[in-house]
Assembly symmetry: C2
Homo-oligomer: 302 residues x 2
């Protein structure tokens, strides 16, 4: 089965209490597609970069068998660039700059031959663009969508339109509360499910993730890490691992999704161990599987 | 097997975004002993109250077979009284008043016939008093100890002495970080284990609890609740359920402790559903067991 990933491809400048990096590979579609590539054997990106993107980054994605025929390279322009600094507890990040560059005029046109792909992962981009993508697709079976606080704030109406067209939303706990104006995460989850998606994943960082749907709840722990080197991309790696596994299995039900959450958690834990996409670039199926088993083991009661 | 509980017995005035109550039964020893009574068939309290404590509260504890022969009633004086208000997200509480009353001169003397009890639960009281209790015990097999941010702040040296004499510490995640000056909870856990106790439970409220020991980690989810009516006593109910189950089984190992954490989580979830001790007063073994099974089910992966 094929998975289409639409999202940002970017350069990230990140400063954490542990270290600092400039102009490293980032973007939601980048993390998502690399993470998904360990499960789905056909992952395609639709996105845009400038002519400064560089052969090295193209090569890395190609090495993961990511189909880049939908990645537009705009000559004479620059790749989307983002800078942030994490505060001491790594839970809050302050944006330093957002240079949209090529991303400013990004209008995702899905190539004809990709429109009948059944599995779609909408990385965190403007909701109106996510809607445009959905409208071009002809054979959707399962659509996973990520979003962020910025869109809840400035594009609320569009986001709500998106929610009516997707199967599963991935969102942070603070964003879930913000979207629903609820202070309790379980009530927030119920409210979001009433807005459209049949399934919902609430990410809680170091506290793991909650999956809701079919009147059931699944709680996955996070993998315990002594050092979180760079949280950037953790959510995208999670979504990519999740959607990649769903695509690989091809069946849509709660039990498959539980395992997909575990694999997403495994990918996210590798992602935060290094800067940029370095943490998920050189994994093996065995490494991912071993960590997934450790995560399952964490909450196992005989 | 018998369990000795030493801690505060108090009147709590609590205001939450949901409701308000005044001079309701509270205190660490109260919650702990009622919660433990569903597991251990012999639970004894050592504590102190004033002559205003009231027959109704005595009756409630007696109905749970809690041995009150170690509960001193000081004539002409008042019971320890505490008032607090919870902020909107229920995670932060502001103290309104702390009237120590009889608690000011509390000097826990363990009755001769209770000194050889093997299971000890030290509820959250001043560390120097916890030390005094430990020093009177002659046959300890397993000591569980709770504490709070106040003692980390103003009685740090005494608390560290306590840590060298106990088997398991129960503590909040924010307090664990405060005690160790670590921002990462896994590193904080390692540091606390190096301070003395063989086992450690880090409570994370709505995010569940982590058990550390024997070079293993167990992660238990919280029971998902749409309404948290009153978080006061949740930690004490957890500790009581945990220690009560350990006493009932009588064996000290990681697998028994995992189940004890689940039962503690079950008791804590009932506790927050009502004000004061009302949520844990009228439970049955079946209700507790059903909820424990639901908690295990939450994280189960086939």
């Amino acid at each position: 089965m094929s998975l289409l990933v639409v999202g940002s491809v970017a350069f990230d400048s990140v400063e954490t209490p542990e270290a600092k990096i400039e102009k490293a590979l980032g973007g939601s579609a980048t993390y998502c597609s690399v993470a998904a590539s360990y499960f789905a054997n056909d992952v395609k990106i639709v996105g845009v970069v400038g002519d400064d993107f560089g052969e090295k980054n193209i090569e890395m994605l190609k090495n993961h068998n990511v189909d880049l025929s939908g990645l537009e390279v705009v000559e004479g322009e620059k790749t989307f660039s983002y800078g942030c600094v994490y505060r001491d507890d790594m839970n809050i990040r302050d944006t330093l700059f957002t240079d949209l560059n090529v991303f400013e005029k990004f209008d995702p046109v899905i190539p004809e031959e990709m429109r009948n792909i059944p599995f779609l992962l909408l990385g965190n981009i403007m909701p109106s663009l996510q809607l445009k993508v959905i409208e071009q697709m002809t054979n959707l079976k399962f659509t996973v969508c990520d979003t962020m606080n910025l869109w809840i704030d400035i594009a609320n109406e569009d986001l709500k339109k998106v929610l009516r067209r997707i199967n599963l939303l991935v969102i942070n706990d603070s964003e879930a509360k913000m979207l629903t104006k609820e202070r309790n995460v379980i009530r927030a989850a119920k409210n979001i499910l009433a807005m459209g998606p049949e399934y919902l994943i609430i990410k809680k960082g170091e506290h793991g993730a909650l999956l809701f749907g079919e009147d059931k709840i699944f709680s996955a722990p996070a993998f315990p890490l002594e050092t979180v080197f760079d949280p950037t991309g953790a959510g995208d790696s999670f979504a990519g691992g999740f959607a990649g596994y769903m695509t690989q299995v091809g069946k849509i039900n709660f039990d498959v999704m539980k395992k997909a959450v575990i694999y997403g958690t495994s990918l996210a834990s590798f992602s935060v161990e290094k800067f940029s996409t370095k943490g998920i670039e050189n994994l093996s199926k065995e490494k991912i599987e071993n960590r997934a088993n450790q995560i399952i083991e964490l909450s196992k009661v005989e």
